[in-house]
């Protein structure tokens, strides 16, 4: 079976949990930006956590299914419509052949997910179905969806879970304020004390320059220590000899606007990174819409690992609440 794309929306791509092992040649992990929402969508329709979904950005697609389908819409709050009739999110929906799925205006956040029983069944590339548009690999022909595309859907491989709606308490919030935990490090020693103070005590706002590669923030800026630049590093004090970029790392080109690299990160470059968002908070960052007021809270690596475990436990409990197993 397949979904026929009548209107592709702004930037709709096939994503899963992403590919690792190729960052050393510049191929980023990709995968759903908000992993939690994508994964629980899969949970609602009886899939495995790693099955592929459609990631919709602000404006979702209009699509028609050519066969019966079981779907769930998770992630950012948005009006969901089946043949024009409003339907709930975070709930299993049954579509009949010929039904049309469409969306209203997004009410917060940036991305929502269409999970379908059987998963989106495009071929795996380097171990993943995720689309990396810049490199033209994965997903449907390595690109975002276009009108007229037929998106293949796989066959159901298991039973649907007993519960059809994810309880409110397990749904993420899409607030206009965020507190994001970071571990200082990498090149934070290159910041002045005042610069570090601005990073941790300043208020930063997500700018419209935000995509799957990274999010740019405006705010008070930071100061770099003056120095004689090392050979090959470039002339600005925020420059380093081109190095690998950690996913989630924060770079501040010229000291003005921090950029958090996300799942389609460029794998390296010549800007000093000063901290890294902890793995447990990467979904949170992915949910930030332009204008979201953000504070960065420094934690230790040990605390980051505790938070990582808590997130995994929280996710397990969410799966259990559906009567499903991840």
């Amino acid at each position: 079976m397949a979904f026929e794309i009548k209107n592709p929306g702004l930037a709709t791509t096939v994503q899963d949990q992403g590919r690792t092992g190729y960052y050393n040649v510049g191929i980023p992990q990709s995968g759903s930006m908000d992993q939690y929402s994508a994964e629980l969508g899969n949970g609602l329709v009886g899939n495995r956590p790693g099955d592929a979904v459609l990631e919709c950005t602000y404006l979702g697609p209009v699509l028609v299914t050519d066969a019966e389908a079981v779907i769930a819409i998770t992630g950012a709050p948005v009006e969901v419509k089946v043949n024009g009739e409003a339907k709930p999110q975070w709930t299993r929906l049954h579509l009949a052949a010929g039904d049309e799925l469409s969306f209203g205006v997004i009410q917060g956040g940036t991305r929502y997910y269409i999970a379908v029983q059987g998963g989106i069944d495009v071929p795996e590339v380097l171990g993943s179905r995720s689309t990396y548009t810049l490199g033209g690999i994965g997903g449907l022909n390595g690109r975002k969806l276009e009108a007229g595309d037929l998106v293949p859907v796989g066959s159901a491989r298991g039973d649907l879970p007993s519960v059809e709606t994810l309880p409110e308490s397990f749904r993420p919030s899409f607030a206009k304020e965020q507190s994001v935990r970071i571990v200082l490090g990498l090149y934070d020693h290159r910041l002045t004390d005042a610069g570090k103070d601005n990073l941790l005590n300043g208020e930063w706002k997500v700018t419209p320059v935000a995509d799957r590669m990274g999010l740019r923030y405006s705010g008070p800026g930071v100061e770099w220590k003056e120095r004689e630049q090392p050979f090959g590093a470039g002339s600005d004090p925020s420059n380093i000899v081109d190095a690998g970029y950690a996913v989630g790392s924060i770079q501040i080109p010229g000291g003005t606007q921090p950029i958090i690299l996300h799942r389609d990160a460029v794998s390296g470059g010549g800007y000093a990174m000063v901290a890294t968002v902890i793995s447990a908070d990467m979904d949170l960052v992915a949910r930030a819409a332009p204008g979201t007021v953000t504070t960065f809270v420094a934690v230790s690596q040990d605390e980051a690992i505790v938070a990582r475990k808590e997130r995994a436990e929280q996710k397990s409990k969410a799966w259990e609440s559906l009567g499903a197993k991840p």
Binding site: T20, Y22, V25, G185, L186, G234, G244, G268, G269, V277
Partner: protein, 307 residues
């Protein structure tokens, strides 16, 4: 004969690397703050030995110019175990410095001063470039104290380059020329990055050359276009049979200037699927490259004549 103190400037790397963390999933090992062949060689050696150790929980090993990024899964591999493993490798290398690398030398045809990069450069002058009235090549010649663009081009392809890092975007090589530090070509990046760069642009920023594997944003000065693909997701050409990315860290590249006609002939071969890079396996000896680069480069490049 060049004396060791001036050869490629730094035969010595900072004695101990700096270890720092990128959150809970990344270890960053800064071998040196400055770029040098010695630093890059040490990075590659650590990366290779870490890969050989097959440590469970290591996700990605990314050697860069003078540093190494390792992604790991802390649920499987505690950060302290990873750090002590890499530190042990570093210590072993201090005692038994690896000097040779089994690699290959590849001839990369380039159409210098081409119309594609010229057209894009024209669109990004005022506010982007240091000398909006001139060309990237003229500017590069000037800041390097060379007579003209032709002289810069000659210096660019005369001596070979080492792929010191692959990344930024899929398959993009950073290249470091195998010459003494005082002979390195250095050019500042654009004042502000362009939103467009032609595919296969041969660019330059700082002391590094790069070949843009895909079209997109970029801040490097633009000198020409490579005639054949370096990234082929469809894997249609023979050189991409095993993997869609052509370059690997440690590859040695000899740029070869080609005319418009030669460029078009290569394009035709790419189209019909028959194009192959001229390349030959070589053993790269860092010690010799450091002590007498010109003579050693000559020997490396002669390997290409034998095929």
């Amino acid at each position: 004969m060049t004396t060791p103190s001036t050869a490629l400037s730094s035969n010595s790397v900072r004695s101990e690397a700096r270890y720092t963390w990128g959150g809970d999933e990344f270890l960053f090992v800064e071998v040196d703050e400055s770029m040098s062949l010695a630093a890059n060689f040490k990075v590659m050696s650590i990366a290779r030995k870490l890969a050989d150790a097959e440590l469970s929980g290591v996700v990605d090993i990314c050697p860069a110019n003078a540093s190494l990024l390792v992604r790991f899964n802390p649920d499987i591999l505690p950060p302290s175990t990873l750090e002590s493993t890499v530190r042990k490798i570093e210590l072993e290398l201090r005692n038994h410095d690896e000097q040779s690398l089994e690699t290959r030398i590849i001839e990369v045809p380039v159409w210098y001063d081409d119309p594609f990069t010229a057209e894009v450069a024209q669109r990004f002058r005022e506010g982007f470039h240091q000398e909006p009235g001139g060309t990237d090549l003229d500017y590069a010649a000037k800041v390097n104290g060379l007579k003209d663009a032709a002289e810069f081009i000659r210096r660019h392809h005369e001596q070979p380059w080492l792929v010191s890092m692959v990344g930024f975007v899929a398959g993009l090589p950073f290249l470091f020329q195998l010459v003494e530090r005082d002979k390195q070509l250095q050019v500042p990046k654009y004042l502000s990055p362009r939103t467009d760069t032609p595919k296969l642009t041969v660019g330059h920023g700082g002391c590094f050359a790069a070949i843009y594997s895909v079209r997109g944003a970029g801040g490097y000065q633009m000198f020409g276009v490579a005639a054949a693909p370096i990234y082929d997701p469809a894997q249609s050409l023979a050189d991409f049979k095993d993997f869609m990315v052509f370059f690997r860290p440690g590859d040695i590249v000899k740029f070869k200037p080609v005319t418009e006609d030669e460029y078009n002939a290569i394009q035709a071969q790419v189209e019909d699927g028959s194009y192959r890079y001229r390349q030959v396996p070589v053993t790269f000896d860092a010690g010799r490259a450091l002590s007498d680069p010109q003579a050693y480069n000559q020997e490396l490049m002669e390997a290409l004549n034998g095929i």
